[in-house]
Symmetry: C2
Subunit: 193 residues, 2 copies
DNA sequence: TATTGTTATACTCTATAACTATA
DNA sequence: TATAGTTATAGAGTATAACAATA
């Protein structure tokens, strides 16, 4: 298959000869890492979500329980550890509390604070996730045990605290600027091969 | 591995003795693969989104352009290739078209169909993403070149067509059922560590 | 005034259901 | 009736801004 030699596809204005298109797809192996990450993240997130749905959890809410498994936390702490805003956490906690996975109560020392603690139910969910071979199978469907181990290692590395957090280092934008004048507007027949 | 068993890790936000909690954090290396995937997917997605923001793209919209790079498509085809609903694609296309990355026009043969084609601008964005060393650096910040290559290989494998698509094989739920009675309701003082 | 958390609002991604236009 | 796509509605996750309660 011709990797990224898609020059024959219909250009902007003219949608093509016969129909939609030849359906030429660049194989993932030829994708830049960026696109790979994009696709993999989506795939993982969605399958993982589909799986977590059984517990009314999501890829976003599960980490909250994971954090709480280590002990009670103030909302602000959870937000910080997860790298999201306090408002976001606030809403997620509502859902998790409603699901019975955690409980909140005001701190006696400082009534402004809410002490968030995981419930036995929350722990149970984590346990199930923990034991579950199903989780591994989710990935193992396409990876060998060796590869899964490899992937694990890489993921762990990526998640290391010294890794760039939610605030990416932002390798400043190239010459493109969608905000002020598009790269090569739909009209401009710029270099595009 | 016992999630809440390692009581030593970095005290997260140490709120104090009598406060929220011990702040015991289980290190990622001890997480089950599921949790790892969860965290990694979020991390990748968010950093990647932050990066793509420069082009008004997201981890979800970029794949659309990637598909279109292979040739014009009907909306239904894009939805299918991406594993999302046609309605979702419909809305994403609106945004991408507004950004000037693609154009739609009715099919002469069948007026119900819309032929979607990438514009030079869209190609330019993909190209930039393609060339950009920045993308690699996003990951390379925590991984060595060797590891990046390894990760790439694993991601490619995970994305292979013969891999389970959007519809996960659903390794049937364990004994838990959030829908009908929680694992160990907040009330039930079940085994909990 | 500063801190902790919530509500209000908005935007994206996602889904289902209902609708329009075309066949 | 079937098909292609859109609109309506909903919910999660996210963010910013404004607010309430407490200190």
């Amino acid at each position: 298959m011709t990797p990224h030699d898609e020059g024959e596809a219909g250009e902007a204005g003219e949608a093509g000869p016969g129909r939609a298109g030849p359906g030429v797809s660049v194989p993932p192996s030829a994708w830049p890492t960026g696109r790979l990450l994009s696709a993999a993240a989506r795939r993982v997130e969605r399958e993982w979500d589909a799986y977590l749905e059984r517990w009314s959890l999501t890829h976003a809410s599960l980490p909250v329980l994971a954090v709480l498994a280590g002990g009670g936390r103030f909302q602000r702490e959870i937000a910080s550890e997860l790298g999201v805003t306090e408002q976001t956490i606030s809403r997620m906690l509502v859902g998790l509390e409603r699901s019975g996975y955690l409980q909140r109560q005001r701190n006696d020392t400082d009534r402004r604070q809410h002490v968030v603690a995981i419930t036995p139910g929350g722990r149970a969910a984590l346990e199930a996730l923990n034991d579950s071979v199903a989780v591994e199978r989710l990935v193992a469907a396409t990876l060998t045990p060796d590869q899964v181990a490899q992937l694990r290692g890489l993921l762990v590395r990526m998640l290391r605290p010294d890794a760039p957090g939610p605030r990416a280092p932002g390798p400043r934008a190239p010459e493109l600027r969608a905000s002020e004048g598009l790269p090569n507007g739909p009209g401009s027949q710029a270099p595009e091969g």
